[in-house]
Symmetry: C2
Subunit: 198 residues, 2 copies
DNA sequence: TGTACATCAGTGAACGCGCGTTCACTGATGTAC
DNA sequence: TGTACATCAGTGAACGCGCGTTCACTGATGTAC
């Protein structure tokens, strides 16, 4: 067909975007190449013109998703600062809420896929560490009154708390129990970011 | 063959135990009935004499694993109390350490499978909520100086923190980065259980 | 005591299906002459 | 301006494989007579 310049890149992007949503929704093992390509409006054979294999796609899709989450946190922080609110609190509220709990396909890839990625081949998590590191830095920047190292360490714990709490809220049934989980996580996150007294 | 009394129950237990390890190691979708039965010394056809389907096995195996984790925490608490140490600190150290990070097959099922269970059919997580609730109660009992409700809410956050931190430590490469994650999680957990000043 | 039968945990072939990957092919367009 | 050819994103049949589940069957034992 000889497509216009940029067509190939557009297609690739479309596949990665579709994968990014499907992987978060269904998990890596349960997401098939054929149905994914169909979702992107293509047939399965063309997949290997864009990627060396499933591993490579997973890597790209996970990185894209993590970038999206980070951007969402950054923009929540920016908006909060503009309105004179606390940036850290904005991050927590952006992460621990019902919409995020109920829509994993549009949410944090770490919460949806961390355990499965830990089991995956190395090629599927080449970019992961860097993306997580940058997200942790965004969180650390909103923790005041500590040395950079201490703020980063606190950010690690906060991100673990957010991820873990969201997972619990998703897996434990009952709207009220689940909402209580989110509330408990929120309060704990704020405690972790408080200026260190004691 | 007409086996001795109790043989059937023994076999069933053996299957559930094998599944409990394999599921935590490889995930639900990647664990096949046939290879699981082979691991238990049987052929795949016999599976349906013991379980209505994969869902039912997953449910039993996850509950067994969570019971194991809870017992480990309870025994760590007991030992700590006998030696005059803090029970909560014992729980945290029992959960966030290198052995647990490196051996998911013998570790916490929530950390390995929470996200996948959230996607699974209802039948695969019938017993989950109760098991998690009991584990949260064990943690809550070691958080002093709060009302029962506040201690339980704090336990929710602590368990989320432990799960999330362990997952991050597993997925982020580099022994030193990973060890720093565990240390950050440990410190944060202790902060969350501290008597409430501020 | 000896024989016929019921029991039932476990066997293994077979079912339809989806998986990741390969590959010969298509066909609309840009380029060379 | 008109024709022949190269390009290459995308197609779809085919590969071997493992999946969850079903089912007719096995065969050692306990029980009934």
């Amino acid at each position: 067909m000889r497509y216009e310049k940029g067509h190939r890149d557009d297609t690739r992007r479309r596949i990665v975007e579709a994968a990014s949503r499907r992987l978060r929704k269904d998990g890596i093992a349960s997401t098939g190449i054929a149905s994914l390509m169909a979702e992107a409006g293509l047939t399965h054979g063309g997949f290997y013109a864009h990627f060396t294999g499933k591993e490579a796609l997973v890597n790209d899709a996970v990185c894209l998703a993590l970038q999206g989450t980070r951007r969402a946190l950054v923009s929540a922080v920016k908006k909060a600062h503009e309105e004179g609110r606390d940036g850290f609190e904005a991050i927590v509220d952006r992460y621990l809420n019902r919409a995020h709990r109920d829509h994993p396909e549009a949410g944090c890839a770490a919460a949806s896929l961390a355990a499965e990625l830990a089991r995956a081949q190395a090629g599927a998590r080449e970019g992961l560490a860097q993306e997580v590191h940058e997200t942790l830095s965004v969180i650390a920047a909103e923790i005041r009154g500590r040395s950079p190292d201490a703020a980063y360490a606190a950010a690690c714990a906060v991100f673990g708390l957010l991820m873990g709490t969201l997972q619990l809220a998703r897996v434990i049934g009952g709207p009220e129990t689940s909402a209580a989980m989110l509330a408990a996580g929120r309060e704990a996150a704020l405690t972790l970011a408080q200026p260190r007294g004691e």
